[in-house]
C-alpha cells in the first residue's frame, strides 16, 4: 500500500513522469514513423480491396486505442472512487479527450473505408452504433467535468459516468459475434491465429503500439497541465480570499 501511495502524490508523479517522457516521445516517433512508412510504401495492396485497404492501418489502431483508453479511464475512475488518489482522477480526466479523438478518427477513417468497399459511408450496424455510443459517453464525460466546478463533486460524477459507460466495452468487442453486422469478425485476436499476412500485420501492430505510446506521452503532458492548472486555480482562490 505504501508503494502505491507514493504515486498518489502529484509531486512524485511529476518527477517520475519527467524522466520517462523523453523516452516515450522518442519511441512514439520511431514506431509511428516506421509504421507509416510500412503502411504506405512497404505493405502490398490487398487482393480484393487494393490500396483502399491501407486505411486499415489507421482505422484499426484508432479503434483499439479508443477502447483501451476508455478501459484505462474506467480503471483510474474506480481507483479514485475507492482510494481517492488524486493522481488517478487527473489521469482519468486527462485521458478522455485523447480517447474521444481516437474514437472520432476510427469512425471517420471507417466511413472513408466503407464507402468504396461496402458501398456506404454509414450504416447503423451493431459495431458502428456501439462505438458511436462510446464517442458520446466521452463527450458527456468531458462536458460533465467542465460543468461541475467543485473539484471533489466533479471527480465523483465523472468517475461514476465512466464506470457506467464501461459496460459498452464488451458490447463493442463482441458486437460482431453476437449480432449480424456489416463488420467482419476479428482478424488479429482470434482462435487459430491472425487471418492477415505478416507484411500487413507488421505495419498494423507498429501503428497500434505507436498510438499507445502516443497516448502515454500525451497523457503525461495533459496530466502535468492538469496538475499545474489546478494549482493555479487554488492559488487564485487563496489570493482572492487575501
Amino acid at each position: 500500500m505504501a508503494g502505491l501511495h507514493r504515486f498518489a502524490n502529484p509531486g512524485t508523479f511529476v518527477r517520475i513522469s519527467a524522466k520517462v517522457l523523453p523516452w516515450l516521445a522518442g519511441l512514439t516517433a520511431i514506431l509511428i514513423g516506421v509504421g507509416l512508412y510500412q503502411a504506405l510504401l512497404v505493405a502490398p495492396p490487398e487482393a480484393y480491396q487494393g490500396n483502399v485497404a491501407r486505411i486499415m492501418y489507421l482505422h484499426v489502431p484508432s479503434a483499439w486505442n479508443a477502447m483501451m483508453i476508455y478501459g484505462a479511464m474506467a480503471v483510474a475512475s474506480a481507483t479514485w472512487l475507492i482510494w481517492k488518489h488524486p493522481v488517478a482522477d487527473v489521469a482519468a480526466q486527462a485521458s478522455a479527450p485523447i480517447g474521444a479523438m481516437f474514437t472520432l478518427t476510427a469512425l471517420l477513417t471507417g466511413s472513408l473505408w466503407g464507402k468504396p468497399t461496402w458501398g456506404t459511408f454509414w450504416v447503423w450496424d451493431a459495431r458502428i452504433t456501439s462505438v458511436t455510443i462510446m464517442l458520446f459517453i466521452y463527450f458527456g464525460y468531458i462536458a460533465l467535468r467542465a460543468a461541475i466546478e467543485d473539484g471533489e463533486r466533479s471527480a465523483k460524477a465523472g468517475a461514476i459516468l465512466a464506470l457506467v459507460g464501461s459496460v459498452n466495452l464488451p458490447i463493442i468487442h463482441y458486437s460482431v459475434v453476437w449480432w449480424n453486422t456489416l463488420h467482419q469478425p476479428a482478424s488479429v485476436l482470434r482462435a487459430g491465429g491472425p487471418a492477415i499476412v505478416a507484411s500487413m500485420l507488421v505495419p498494423l501492430l507498429l501503428l497500434a503500439c505507436g498510438f499507445t505510446t502516443y497516448y502515454l506521452t500525451l497523457l503525461i503532458w495533459r496530466m502535468q497541465r492538469e496538475i499545474v492548472g489546478r494549482r493555479v486555480r487554488s492559488l487564485r482562490v487563496l489570493q482572492a480570499q487575501g
Binding site: N9, P10, G11, L36, L40, P45, G50, N51, V52, R54, I55, L58, H59, S62, K84, H85, P86, V87, D89, V90, P97, I98, M101, L104, T105, L108, T109, L112, W113, K115, P116, E149, D150, G151, E152, A155, Y214, L218, W221, R222, Q224, R225, I227, V228, G229, R230, R231, V232, R233, S234, L235, R236, V237, L238, Q239, Q241
Partner: protein, 81 residues
C-alpha cells in the same frame, strides 16, 4: 514521375486513402500542439503567482493539492489563515 503520380492515385482510391491519413495524423499532431501550448501558459501563470508571495503561496498550494488533489474551496478549510 509516372511512378509517383501512380502511387499518389492509390489505384483510384486517392480520395479515400489520403483524407484518412491527413485527418488522423492531423488530429494527433494538433492535440499535442494544443496541450503543449496550454501547459506552457499554465506554467507561466503558476510562476507569476508564486513570485507574488513565494513562501506562503507555495506551501499552501502544495498542501491543498496534496490533501485533496483538488484545488477547490473544500481544500481551503484545512489551511490555517
Amino acid at each position: 514521375m509516372d511512378a509517383i503520380s501512380d502511387y499518389l492515385a492509390m489505384g483510384g482510391f486517392a480520395a479515400y486513402v489520403w483524407p484518412a491519413y491527413v485527418i488522423t495524423v492531423g488530429a494527433m499532431v494538433g492535440m499535442i500542439v494544443v496541450t503543449l501550448r496550454d501547459l506552457r501558459r499554465d506554467r507561466k501563470a503558476l510562476a507569476e503567482l508564486e513570485a507574488q508571495n513565494p513562501m506562503r503561496n507555495a506551501r499552501r498550494a502544495a498542501r491543498a493539492t496534496q490533501t485533496t488533489g483538488i484545488a477547490g474551496p473544500e481544500g481551503d478549510d484545512r489551511i490555517d489563515p
